[in-house]
Symmetry: C2
Subunit: 217 residues, 2 copies
DNA sequence: TCAGGGTTGAAACGTTCGTTTTAAGCGCAG
DNA sequence: CTGCGCTTAAAACGAACGTTTCAACCCTGA
């Protein structure tokens, strides 16, 4: 029969593994550190997951199944697409800047995005695909219908690329380039505002630079 | 006295180390594989560089001192900033897509950008800083003078972010999202064109979507 | 109470890693 | 030729890794 503490150990291992994998990467992370942080024995990894690699896959899955992202947003009928785009960008930046949720989860996912493993395909299909489709739908509202879908996908990548630049692991470079103080000023609100307005301006929806009487979103 | 073959072994180690580090990352790369690929003994690493970490630092330095990037471009007086921006973006994409030069050099640098090590600070100061300043100067020509420098830096990050998205290590995700065939169509020319036009449109220089009589760069 | 399966703990296993040691090879000055 | 730095080769070292073993433990059902 299943012991009550089993699921606890399993869950603690998943959380600890996510943190350690996020901090150090797959190779550099050690099962001893994971188990130490989880308060479990090293044998627990092999008992519960078989080996280190399957623990990693499960940790990635756990990371974005344990509430890292709010349910896909739904907007009331008639919401202007500019507003939807802003919400989307803000949501993505929230995950990246980990302003709201445990840092390691977002970082683990970003790490997986950057250095894909076997866990990548599953994550793309289960998580990214959905977000990507939402962004595509928003852009379809913002762009002329005669623009080919392939070009729309390029625009989507431009939006995502702008957001992904602020990944935590880019931080040292950003700080070196603009200084720590200014880099700190690039917070969620400011980046949301900038990327949204930059994108809307590129799509011809509104000018990037404020002008008297200019429309805002 | 210095043996003539010494510099050869050193150089072969640096090249092999660059390739292996680029493929596997610092932790996963082994000095045995590096030495095997370089046709050298494992002791050569410690003899020439002291240890694995200093070999890595030297390999990163070697990677962008051995002609990965053309000398900083200079434009004739009166070159329109739109043209400069296009050249800059194309140059950056060239390095990223490694269409022209040895793949591993660009990848090693990108890897360093993503997971900074001790070699990062030096590389930022010696390499990225220069590129970044050039981009800033171009943007200064393209933007109204009253825009604060801090906002100009955000625009620069938007440009760089769009380019960095097409890093080789994003490729699996891109292929899963849009299909291999279409992803293959995102080549140097098309991406240069898209990112340049997207950015210029955002800056209010020209519309993103072709219109009759619209100006092109 | 007792037997038995699920779970944990401590220790050890075999492997691979980075590094070191030791000796031989090489080219040249004396 | 001889001796001496510089460089390379082969082998081994100690440490750390992932993994396995096995006995003890705990909980539950009979």
């Amino acid at each position: 029969m299943k012991n009550a503490s089993t699921d606890d150990t399993r869950r603690r291992l998943l959380e600890a593994a996510g943190q350690v994998f996020a901090e150090r990467g797959f190779q550099a992370a050690t099962v001893r550190e994971i188990c130490g942080r989880a308060g479990a024995n090293v044998a627990a990894v092999n008992y519960h997951f078989g080996d280190k690699e399957r623990l990693y896959i499960e940790a990635v899955r756990y990371a974005h199944c344990s509430g890292i992202d709010a349910p896909d947003p739904t907007w009331p009928e008639g919401t202007p697409p500019e507003r939807k785009l802003r919400d989307f960008i803000r949501g993505m930046l929230e995950n990246i800047l980990h302003d709201t949720r445990p840092a390691w989860q977002a970082q683990l996912i970003v790490r997986e995005l950057i250095e894909p493993s076997q866990a990548c395909v599953e994550m793309v299909e289960n998580y990214i695909r959905g977000k990507y489709d939402i962004l595509q739908a928003i852009l379809a509202e913002l762009m002329p219908p005669e623009v080919p879908p392939s070009d729309r996908r390029l625009v989507a990548f431009s939006v995502v690329g702008q957001c992904l630049y602020y990944t935590k692991i880019h931080k040292p470079i950003g700080e070196l380039l603009v200084g720590e103080d200014e880099y700190r000023s690039f917070d969620l609100d400011r980046l949301t505002d900038h990327i949204t307005r930059f994108t809307l301006a590129a799509l011809g929806r509104q000018p990037l630079f404020a002008r008297p009487g200019g429309a805002r979103v």
